[in-house]
């Protein structure tokens, strides 16, 4: 009940963010139930029905393989959630841990944060490009590469926030009461970082979609057959005048979802501890 109440207070009076939240809920539902809702197999090829206009039974038309775009869009929601969550988990687990440990154990931090500095100097997209060429095109690798790209910024942010908390009275109190390092880090410090982390996660989720689409466009993202919105755009982009619906639907889906995620993140940012506000990047 408390969670519901706090969500209410975060989104109170923010009409746009509320709409965004509703849209994201739709995306999540589509992702979960896509096999049940999708009228066609998203991989089913039909040479006779290629490039058909939107209508019945192909709500979003068909692509140049004759695959049903609506079904692919539904499965694309699944990829959106998978890539977003995957990138968030990779970034928070690796970057977050490095950042927290570095701030807590100063000596270790000296070494680790230097490493983070080195990685920060690599331009994000270039690093992703090189890594993707090095690995193979797959869903897993795309998630890892995008996650790693955002791990560095996450490490920086968590480093800063943990450092601020370390000097707080309640941490000193915990130390005095004989708590171990793990207990201080994860039971006393981490809980205070949950809401700023959520904000950071929402921005990573949003950016990951755009990064994934950019990689797809450059031919270095998900395997081209995988139904994702980025793939639908980049695989069919030559049909922009011949079959405009192939670019309009997935394009609108990406924009709406990224926009919604940004709105939600923005609303949450305004409600977190003011000490941490400046630490979090994003739009």
């Amino acid at each position: 009940m408390m969670a519901v109440a706090s969500i209410r207070s975060v989104f109170a009076g923010r009409t746009f963010a509320q709409i965004g939240l509703v849209w994201l809920a739709f995306v999540a539902l589509a992702a979960i139930f896509s096999p049940l809702i999708a009228p066609f197999d998203p991989y089913e090829i039909d040479p006779i029905a290629r490039l058909t206009e939107p209508g019945w039974p192909h709500l979003f038309g068909t692509d140049h393989f004759g695959r049903d775009s609506f079904s692919r869009a539904l499965y694309g929601a699944r990829m959106t959630v998978l890539i977003g969550l995957g990138a968030v988990i990779v970034a928070l687990l690796t970057g977050g841990l490095v950042g927290m440990l570095s701030a807590y154990f100063t000596r270790l931090g000296h070494v680790l944060m230097r490493g983070v500095d080195v990685l920060m100097a690599f331009p994000a997209l270039l690093m992703a490009l090189v890594l993707m060429t090095l690995l193979e095109r797959s869903v897993m690798n795309t998630i890892i590469v995008i996650g790693v790209v955002y791990a560095t910024t996450t490490a920086r942010i968590l480093f800063g926030m943990t450092l601020k908390l370390k000097g707080e009275v309640f941490v000193d109190a915990a130390v005095c009461s004989g708590a171990g390092h793990a207990s201080i880090l994860f039971r006393h410090i981490l809980p205070n970082l949950v809401s700023p982390l959520l904000v950071q996660a929402s921005f990573i989720f949003a950016f990951a979609q755009l990064q994934a689409a950019a990689l797809d466009f450059l031919g270095l993202g998900l395997p081209p057959e995988v139904p994702s919105w980025g793939n639908m755009l980049s695989e069919e982009r030559i049909y922009v005048t011949r079959a405009p619906w192939l670019l309009i639907f997935p394009g609108a889906l990406i924009i709406l979802s990224v926009f919604s995620m940004n709105l939600v993140g923005d609303a949450m940012r305004d409600s977190i501890d003011p000490r941490f506000k400046d630490d979090i990047a994003g739009v």
């Binding site: 100097a121 060429t133 950019a214």
Partner: protein, 315 residues
């Protein structure tokens, strides 16, 4: 201040060294080899092996690295496997486009971003604030290649106002007027990046307006708009400068997609093409140059910061 600068410069060395090692390792782990790509379909394995030897690609990795590093320290980034010309020349050719593109993008960002940021801070919480912040965020949510595609269709193919793609150098026929080739790409690139600046300008104006000297100015009875422009903006500039620095560095490298869509001969497209061609020296060179650029901008921003706000260098 001088001591601080030297200290910061020295600190760059190990970071740079680690970065070069990483670049070298990554690039050489990529499967595929330049020799067989250069020689094409009909080359025999012996011929490929011979060219590989000639290119020095058969040495152990760490030997190759040391040789490369030694050359880099003497200002020689090596020779492009594909073009056969010095990497530095290839990069310099691309740099013209990239720097002009980033600069023009910056101009749009400042032209649109700063006034919008100020207006939205002055109207905090009102509808105009909501519309501008929301609009900026919407632009930041559009995939760049999608936006670029439609801009080309509308302004180049449909209306015929602007060229669709390519960029003849400023020294080419047409001279400065060739900048018109960069209008659409720079707008495409500015769209997502303006949002960050708008938010920053807005946030720093709000922060600064809470500070004491602004309150004093208000108390003295100065008109609110004067207070806003003179005091708030000048101080807000400090933190915004920093953001500009980073944005500029990011623009040079994040332009990969834009340069591909608009077929611009910049550094971003050079990297993508070089990866496809496995032109190791060029990939290494470009990434190295961008990393160095990024670090120096980082440093300059910090130094500018320290100068504008003396409290920092005391830390």
């Amino acid at each position: 201040m001088l001591f601080y600068t030297i200290k910061r410069l020295l600190a760059l060395i190990p970071t740079l060294l680690a970065a070069t090692m990483l670049v070298f390792l990554f690039v050489h782990l990529i499967p595929g080899d330049p020799a067989s790509i250069l020689l094409g379909d009909t080359a025999t394995p012996e011929e490929v092996a011979a060219l590989t030897r000639e290119l020095g690609l058969d040495e152990p990795l760490w030997t190759q690295y040391l040789i490369w590093l030694g050359n880099v320290l003497q200002g020689d980034l090596g020779t492009s496997v594909f073009f056969g010309t010095p990497v530095l020349t290839v990069i310099a050719d691309g740099a013209e486009t990239s720097i002009l593109l980033a600069t023009m993008t910056m101009v749009w960002i400042v032209l649109f971003g700063v006034p919008i940021g100020i207006v939205s801070a002055m109207n905090k919480g009102r509808w105009i604030d909501q519309i501008t912040s929301g609009g900026a965020m919407l632009f930041a949510s559009i995939p760049t290649f999608w936006l670029g595609l439609y801009l080309i269709l509308l302004f180049a193919v449909g209306l015929g106002w602007l060229p669709s793609s390519g960029f003849p150098s400023l020294t080419d026929t047409g001279g400065v007027t060739n900048l018109r080739y960069l209008i659409l790409p720079s707008l495409t690139l500015a769209a997502p990046n303006a949002a960050l600046i708008i938010r920053l300008v807005r946030a720093s104006m709000l922060d600064v307006s809470r500070e004491d000297h602004v309150r004093t100015a208000r108390a003295k009875g100065l008109r609110p708009s004067r207070v806003a422009i003179r005091h708030i903006f000048r101080n807000a500039l400090i933190s915004v400068t920093a953001a500009f620095g980073f944005t500029f560095a990011a623009l040079v490298s994040e332009a990969v997609v834009t340069e591909t869509v608009f077929s611009l001969p910049g550094i971003g497209r050079l990297v993508v093409q070089s990866i496809l061609r496995r032109d190791y020296p060029v990939i290494q060179g470009v990434i190295l140059v961008i990393v160095v650029l990024y670090m120096f901008i980082n440093l300059l921003v910090d130094l500018a910061y320290a100068r504008l706000d003396p409290r920092i260098s005391l830390k």
